[in-house]
Structure formats: C-alpha cells, structure tokens
C-alpha cells in the first residue's frame, strides 16, 4: 500500500476540485493545507526506528497485535514541541478567528521541556476521546484557556508526522496483507473513512493517525465484525453515488466509503473526510454514529 504523504501538488489539485463543488469549505481546507505543509516538511527530518524484524512483525500480525503494541515509538520531545508550535501558528494564519491562546499551547505547563516526554509517554496510545479526557483530567483546558477538543486536535496533528514516518518504515519491511482487523496494523487506531480501490474494488481502510492502509472485507462491519449481509446496508445522495455511508444495523455505527472505481481516480481520504461532512450529519440523523472520531470536521 502507498506511502505517506501524498505529493503536495496532488493535494492542492484535489483541494481545488473539492472547492469547485463546495467553496464554503475554503477556510477549512486552508487550515488542512497549512497543517499538511508543516507535517510534510517535518516528515523528512523525523527518524523513527523499527526494532522488530520482518518475521517478528508478521508474528504480531498473525497474533492480531498491532506493531506498536510490540515495540515502543520514540518521539523526540523538542521536535514535537516545534511541530506543535508551527501547527498552531498555521491554524491561526489560516483561521484568524481561532483562539489566540492556541499560539501559547506549546508553552503549557504539561508541555514544558522537563515534562513533555512524560506527557508523550502518557498519551501516545490514546485515541481522540481518551486524549480529550486526559486533557480535562489534568485541567490543561482550564490552564490554557482552550477547548479540550482543540488541544487534542493540535496535539494529534503534531504527532501525525511521527506515526506516519514510523508507518512508512514498517511498510518498507512488511506489507499489511496478513492483517485482517478493523483497527490499524501499526498504531491500533480505528479508521473513520475508507475507499473502494480503483483497480479491483477492494475495501481499503486508512488510519487517520499513521495513514497505514489495509484491506478489509467488503461485507463485514469494521466496527463489530458483523457479517450478516441482511443487516449491512449503505446509503448515498443520488447525485453522488461514489460517496457512500456504510451502516451496520447491529452496532448502529457507520463508515464513509469513497468508491474510486466509480470516480475513476485515486482519492486522498483526509480531504474526502472533510468534503463529506454532510454525510456525517445525515448518518447521525439516520441514527448511526462513529465509535471514535478524529477528522477536522467532526
């Protein structure tokens, strides 16, 4: 499967296409684009080591264990803080209405030089909800004057280059064809969007954190592993059949799917997650939810 990140020109071209259909998302895409530029510029500087051998990684997959449950990911505290600062600046530049305190986030008490490594150790296996809870428990939101969701988003945005770099290193050694779980084979996070691959229509899930892509059966719920075809359905807006919401009647969760075969092109799922925000609203109206949400629009 592909390496991360996609080419900047491709991202820009794809954003232009999306804006032709929905110019009201311009500011949201602008925020995304600036964050993406910062993340991409750091990806080359970050070196993450994979300590497991190819056979050990395959054993992890055979035992349904994601790689980071078998080895530690070293995150350099200073690089993380630099990234966080630049990402907060990028958000503020693209969205001047963003809270001013965002520019001070990297100077928060918990992120001081002596504490940042402990903070990263605490939170690096968290999902979005867990991080938000942690932020509230430690009163980081009160101390910084920022919403816990905003802090969580900024922190994860600064972590993405580390996790993506690690995923790139893993995928150079081993592919994810042995992996048949609904959570990420590298970092264990749950996907929020997927696609039907252009070449063969296979369902490819993508991790929102490390951007690993792996195959998952079309006729199985990725949230509860329900295989009963009678309780798996999907809906779409008739004017745009390529963007679908696959729902499970049993667990009442959903997953957005972009059909590349229908679009006849490869898509960038991070952008599609933003552009299909209306499908999330429709899914919620229909009574379906996402177990863990981490996209910019949610």
């Amino acid at each position: 499967m592909g390496q991360y990140p996609p080419a900047i020109k491709k991202v820009e071209a794809e954003i232009d296409l999306q804006l032709q259909n929905n110019s009201n998302l311009k500011q949201v895409f602008d925020v995304y684009k600036r964050i993406f530029f910062v993340q991409s510029s750091y990806l080359d500087q970050i070196n993450t080591e994979v300590s497991l051998t190819e056979e050990e990684m395959k054993d992890c997959f055979r035992n349904d264990q994601h790689i980071l449950s078998c080895q530690d990911l070293k995150i350099d505290g200073q690089t993380f803080l630099d990234l966080l600062e630049k990402i907060c600046q990028a958000i503020k530049e693209a969205s001047p209405e963003a809270p001013d305190n965002l520019l001070e986030l990297s100077k928060a008490r918990e992120l001081q030089e002596s504490k940042v490594n402990g903070f990263l150790e605490d939170i690096k296996a968290f999902n979005k909800k867990e991080l938000e809870q942690y932020v509230q428990d430690k009163e980081m939101d009160q101390n910084t004057g920022l919403d816990s969701e905003v802090i969580s988003f900024a922190v994860f945005s600064a972590l993405i280059p580390f996790f993506s770099s690690f995923m790139n290193s893993v995928s150079e050694t081993v592919d994810f064809s042995l992996w048949r779980n609904s959570f990420c084979p590298v970092c264990g996070q749950k996907p929020v969007i997927a696609k039907h691959r252009k070449d063969d229509g296979a369902r490819i899930l993508e991790c929102w954190l490390c951007h690993a892509q792996w195959n998952f059966p079309r006729l199985e719920c990725p949230h509860c592993n329900n295989e009963d075809q009678g309780s798996l359905r999907f809906f779409y807006v008739p004017e745009d059949r390529a963007r679908q919401v696959h729902v499970c009647e049993k667990c009442e969760h959903y997953l957005k799917i972009i059909d590349e075969k229908m679009l006849q092109k490869e898509v960038i799922l991070d952008l599609e997650a933003i552009a299909t925000g209306h499908l999330d609203v429709l899914a919620n109206k229909e009574g379906y939810t996402l177990p863990e949400i981490a996209s910019l629009l949610n």
Binding site: V150, D200, R218, Q229, R233, F234, D240, H278, K285
Partner: protein
C-alpha cells in the same frame, strides 16, 4: 455534486456548527434572524432540515456466485428495493479477486431487458416459479415447490424400487440402479460434493458424472 449556493451555505454551517472546525474559527458568522411579516408564511431565514436538502437512497450489497461457467467467480450485487441496480466482481472472493469476464460483468443484463422507452424491466424470460410439462404434453403448467420436490422424490423412489439390482447376470452382488443418473455441478464446494457422492452411493446410482466433463 451540485447543490445550490444557499444550501451550501446552510450545509457548511450545519456541518461545522458545534464542531472542531467551529472551535478553530472556521464557522460562518451567525446573523440576526429576520422576522417574517406574516407569521403564517414560512420564515425565509429558517433553513430546511438536512434531509430536506439531501435525499438519500439505501441499497444493500449481496454476494453471489456468477451463474455462467464452472469457474464460479464472486459477484457483488447491489440491490435497491428488492431489485438489482448493478453488479461488480467481488474483490474478496478467493477465486476471482474482483475480476469478471465480459459475460459475468454483464450479469445485470441477464436479469433485465429494456423496453421501448429504454427502461430496464425484469426480463419476462426469467423463470420465477416452477414450470412442469407432463410427458407428451405441449404446454407448461405452473406448480409450487412442495409439489415439485415431492414429485421428484416420488419418481426417484419409484424408479429405484422398480429397477434396483442386487446381483448381475453372473449372480455377483452389485446393489445398483442403472436407470438413474446423477450430474454434479462445478459450483458445489467440497462438503456439498461429499454429501452428493454419499447420497448417490446410498441410492446405488452408478451413472454419476459432472457438468465440467459434458
């Protein structure tokens, strides 16, 4: 997807309202709602519900096996209101991995044909009920499944009872029925074939073959 500017303005607000994007300052500014002159008239500033703007359609995906040749490729059928709306190869099928030949890819046209206006209608040649033509008769009769299964069982039993041979002309034990034949299918799996073979042996049927050799 093209939607009116008004809807997009509304959509953008609906999606980002109370969301992370709004917290990051990306939400559209809220305006003071205008008060309509006539209270009975719909308020132009009250936006419609999202399901008034976007009509959605539900469909199901059902996995099937292509009905043409003995390869048995996997097919995904998209079904809306009980009707197939399209088919494609099943990427998770171990035999075909998403591929279909030209006949398989056109399975939709086995189910439908087009009327003079170009509308897809279920092919009138498609059999949806049991048809029976009695020996010597020229016309088909519609029968139900219970009748058909019972009749088949009865005729198999009658034929076997009439023709079962315990010994051959030389007096050797053979326990066979030469007046029945069994033809298997390329689409049966290992376990099904095991059961068929057991059934055939129990019946004493010796004329046992397979469609792929015919």
């Amino acid at each position: 997807m093209k939607v009116s500017r008004r809807n997009f303005l509304w959509l953008s607000g609906a999606v980002v309202a109370g969301s992370l994007a709004a917290k990051l300052g990306c939400a559209p500014e809220e305006e003071e709602p205008a008060v309509p002159d006539d209270p009975d008239e719909p308020d132009p500033d009250v936006e419609p519900e999202i399901d008034d703007v976007f009509r959605i359609e539900y469909a199901e995906t059902l996995s099937q096996i292509c009905s043409y040749c003995g390869v048995g490729c996997g097919v995904l059928c998209y079904v809306e209101d009980g009707k197939i709306i399209s088919v494609e190869g099943d990427p998770d099928h171990p035999v075909s991995e998403g591929a279909l030949c030209s006949k398989g890819a056109a399975l939709y046209n086995k189910y439908y044909e087009y009327d003079e206006q170009g509308n897809a209608i279920v092919s009138p040649q498609r059999m949806t009920e049991v048809l029976y033509r009695a020996p010597g008769a020229s016309d088909w009769e519609v029968k139900d499944w219970d009748w058909a299964i019972e009749e088949i069982a009865k005729r198999i039993k009658d034929t076997r009872d009439a023709d079962f041979k315990e010994t051959n002309d030389a007096g050797q034990t053979v326990n066979r029925c030469e007046s029945l034949a069994w033809i298997g299918s390329a689409k049966c799996n290992n376990e099904e074939n095991y059961l068929y073979r057991k059934f055939v042996a129990a019946m004493g049927i010796v004329n046992n073959d397979h469609c792929a050799r015919l």
